[in-house]
């Protein structure tokens, strides 16, 4: 029935159906799809298992859950696993129409993102320039993994930015340093107080210079002795976050050396952390608990945190007297800087 309904949408999408999760995954492997609609209750492989596999293998695919399961936990877990929409199966014509409108909107968004508004073809700098040049008012929400930032634009002027504990110009530069991510255009927020008074051209120029300098320092760092933070190491900048005692950048690939700042016994610590992250990621997959976001270790001698990444994990040692709430706030700042 849904195939028939979806086939009649104005955009006339090609609809392919699968009778099981395994069949759906096989179809996704054999050809490119834009959007997937899945139930949670399915034979053999349940919907959460399908979501966990599909989201990892096809991060760009739009996913809609359409189900009669209306438990809040499954809704939350589905969103935590990266679905775009969670819909209760419509029971009236009005609900069906709303559902179709949402699907159409998702497909439209996909079309837009592959063209003018897409992060694949336009950088964030390009997008900000376009918004400012057209003198529009909007709020940009940018996500980069676990990190989220917002940039407020009013009548073509950048008025504020925020990410983690950072705001104004610092946050703007931080967000623009993110190398990958996605963005969403939200309605303008007139109540946001103006904290940035520089012109957008000046801001973009300053940020571009900072990025260039950072890339130069990274190149210098890469050519230096491995395992030890040089003056140009990005860990030096991260060490300025209050409460930090040492840092280790643990590469996921165990054949590569870990970079460190003020740390002792780096190879053994890196090996331990690599194993811990791997073990808990396996547990997360088994439980279908979504992405592993952070690990905290509290002891009498010191406190440690680990921010797992795709290629490397950032292990940080913190002052033992740092209150937990303050540590978590500082960890957000650290993770944000690390991601950039």
């Amino acid at each position: 029935m849904y195939q028939e309904i979806l086939g009649q949408m104005p955009s006339r999408p090609e609809v392919v159906t699968a009778s099981s999760g395994a069949r759906a995954i096989a179809l996704l492997e054999s050809e490119a799809f834009t959007l997937m609609v899945t139930d949670l209750n399915m034979p053999k492989m349940d919907g959460l298992q399908v979501l966990s596999i599909v989201r990892r293998k096809y991060p760009q695919l739009r996913i809609v859950v359409l189900t009669s399961v209306m438990d809040e936990q499954f809704r939350s877990r589905s969103y935590a696993m990266g679905v775009d929409l969670f819909w209760q199966k419509p029971s009236t014509m009005e609900e069906i129409k709303l559902f179709i409108d949402c699907i159409e909107s998702l497909l439209d968004r996909e079309e837009q993102e592959s063209g003018f508004r897409g992060v694949q073809s336009k950088s964030l700098v390009d997008l900000i320039q376009l918004e400012c040049l057209s003198r529009t008012s909007t709020t940009l929400r940018i996500t980069n993994g676990n990190l989220e930032g917002k940039i407020w634009i009013r009548d073509g002027d950048v008025v504020d930015a925020a990410t983690g504990a950072m705001t104004d110009t610092a946050a703007f530069k931080e967000i623009l340093c993110w190398k990958t991510g996605s963005f969403e255009i939200l309605p303008p927020d007139d109540s946001r107080p103006r904290r940035i008074h520089d012109s957008y051209q000046g801001l973009l120029l300053e940020t571009a210079q900072a990025i260039d300098e950072g890339q130069y320092q990274q190149a210098v760092s890469n050519s230096a002795t491995p395992g030890v933070a040089t003056l140009a190491s990005p860990l030096i900048a991260l060490s300025r976050v209050p409460g930090i005692e040492f840092l280790i950048a643990v590469p996921d690939d165990q054949s590569r050396d870990a970079d460190s700042w003020a740390a002792e016994n780096v190879p053994a610590t890196a090996a331990w952390m690599r194993e811990v992250v791997e073990q808990f990621r396996k547990l997360g997959d088994e439980l279908q608990a979504g992405q592993l976001l952070s690990l905290e270790f509290h002891g009498q001698q010191r406190q440690l945190t680990c921010a797992p990444g795709t290629k490397s994990h950032l292990l940080a040692g913190w002052n033992r007297n740092l209150p937990t709430e303050e540590l978590r706030e500082n960890l957000k700042t650290l993770t944000s800087k690390w991601a950039s």
Partner: protein
């Protein structure tokens, strides 16, 4: 452009994430638990063993710690060392859509 849909079916029962607490002794035996019995005991033991192993390896690596907090996107685990064993709190994470 393609569009993929599954036939609705009521097959595998969906398993909820565990919520509650349990204690484990130093040998890895579950001593007490408030986690619903619908959640497999084998998974509870698996979590307990992993927590104990993490505490143990931390000591070996020179980082003795008494509390471990693991955050997943949809799930949180908080474990405190308890005389060689541990008390472990588990709960689904609330997340705004």
């Amino acid at each position: 452009m393609g569009f993929l849909s599954f036939k609705p079916d009521t097959g595998m029962p969906l398993r909820k994430l565990p919520s509650g607490s349990f204690t484990v002794d130093s040998a890895g035996n579950i001593v007490s638990s408030t986690v619903a019995t619908a959640f497999p005991a084998a998974q509870v033991s698996r979590i307990a063993r992993l927590v104990l192993q993490t505490f143990e390896r931390g000591h070996e690596a020179g980082y003795p710690f008494a509390e471990l907090i693991i955050n997943f996107a949809a799930f949180k685990l908080n474990a405190r060392e308890l005389r060689g064993g541990a008390i472990i709190f588990v709960s689904p994470q609330k997340r705004a859509s």
